[in-house]
């Protein structure tokens, strides 16, 4: 894809995926990779940052004799996601306006 995804948009995508249900690192990365081109190593710093900012929290659950760390969206994260959706709609609408030729320079 020619359009690159910025940090805020990536945060928004991660929050959106987690708002559908808790997930662990690997599966979350695969989900995100289905929609946007990011490197596999991009997600960890994002998750860590969101966790530190109390937008996500994590818990461990035993799985096949080992622990698996799941991420869950917090109250604050949900609020942030609402904010991101509003911002996104405004942004998408204005870009759409320019690209589809509705904007003239008169």
């Amino acid at each position: 894809m020619v359009f690159q995804i910025g940090a805020a948009l990536l945060d928004a995508c991660v929050l959106a995926v987690l708002s559908k249900g808790d997930a662990y690192g690997y599966i979350l990365t695969q989900n995100i990779k289905e929609v946007v081109t990011v490197s596999d190593s991009t997600l960890y710093p994002v998750l860590r940052r969101l966790e530190k900012g109390d937008l996500l929290e994590s818990y461990s659950q035993p799985f096949e004799g080992r622990n698996r760390k799941y991420y869950r969206i917090t109250q604050r994260g949900t609020q942030q996601l609402v904010q991101y959706r509003i911002e996104w709609n405004t942004y998408a609408a204005s870009i759409e306006k320019v690209l589809s030729g509705g904007l003239s320079h008169e």
Binding site: Q4, Y26, R48, R66, R68
Partner: protein, 200 residues
């Protein structure tokens, strides 16, 4: 490279950049679980998707540093150490650190050598001018004692001062060119470092 090589190397890189141990532990756990969840059959694919341990370390470190900086904007010491993380992280990925250090050391040595040379020429010019000045004064005093000798001494003194003054602008021009050259070299290297920054 296999899974454990990757994790060992990542741990080493993060440690080297003085990341807090609890942060390192979290990152290592994350990636070790990542390999577990991908399954042993996908180990090589995960390794190629992730990139080199140095690249993974750079992403972790630069994000950590930015978070630290935005959390503690007024703490100067934290800010400085965060910048240090970024500098080290930039070094970690594109070129091997030893090469970067060697290149910097060479440039530094060249700059110091150049500066010393310029400084010594300056001192020499100054010495000639001072000698000329002293001889001129001496010659004026001698005027009342021995006229021919006095004229010789005054003449030599004036000639020396003149030579020094004539040479000075040319020398200044060379010195300025050298200083610009070194500054440009540094700029170029910094720009090359910046080119390797990533946008996600």
């Amino acid at each position: 490279m296999n899974r454990s090589d990757f994790l060992i190397e990542l741990d080493k890189k993060l440690r080297f950049h003085r990341m807090p141990p609890e942060e390192i532990a979290l990152a290592i756990t994350y990636y070790s679980e990542y390999f577990d969840d991908a399954g042993p059959e996908n180990e090589q694919k995960v390794l190629s998707d992730l990139g080199s341990p140095a690249e993974v370390a750079t992403q972790i470190l630069s994000n950590y540093a930015m978070k630290e900086m935005s959390d503690n904007p007024q703490s100067v010491k934290k800010g400085v150490s965060a910048i240090w993380y970024v500098v080290l992280a930039i070094f970690a990925a594109p070129i091997a650190l030893p090469i970067a250090v060697a290149v910097l050391a060479v440039i530094f040595a060249v700059a110091v050598g150049l500066f010393s040379a310029i400084f010594s020429v300056f001192i020499a010019l100054l010495a000639v001018a001072v000698a000329g000045f002293v001889m001129t004064i001496l010659g004026i005093v001698l005027l009342f004692v021995d006229l021919p000798l006095a004229l010789l001494v005054v003449g030599t003194g004036l000639a020396l001062m003149g030579m020094s003054l004539i040479t000075f602008p040319a020398f200044k021009w060379i010195a300025v060119k050298c200083a610009h050259g070194v500054a440009n070299l540094f700029n170029k290297i910094l720009k090359r470092g910046r080119k390797n920054e990533r946008v996600y």
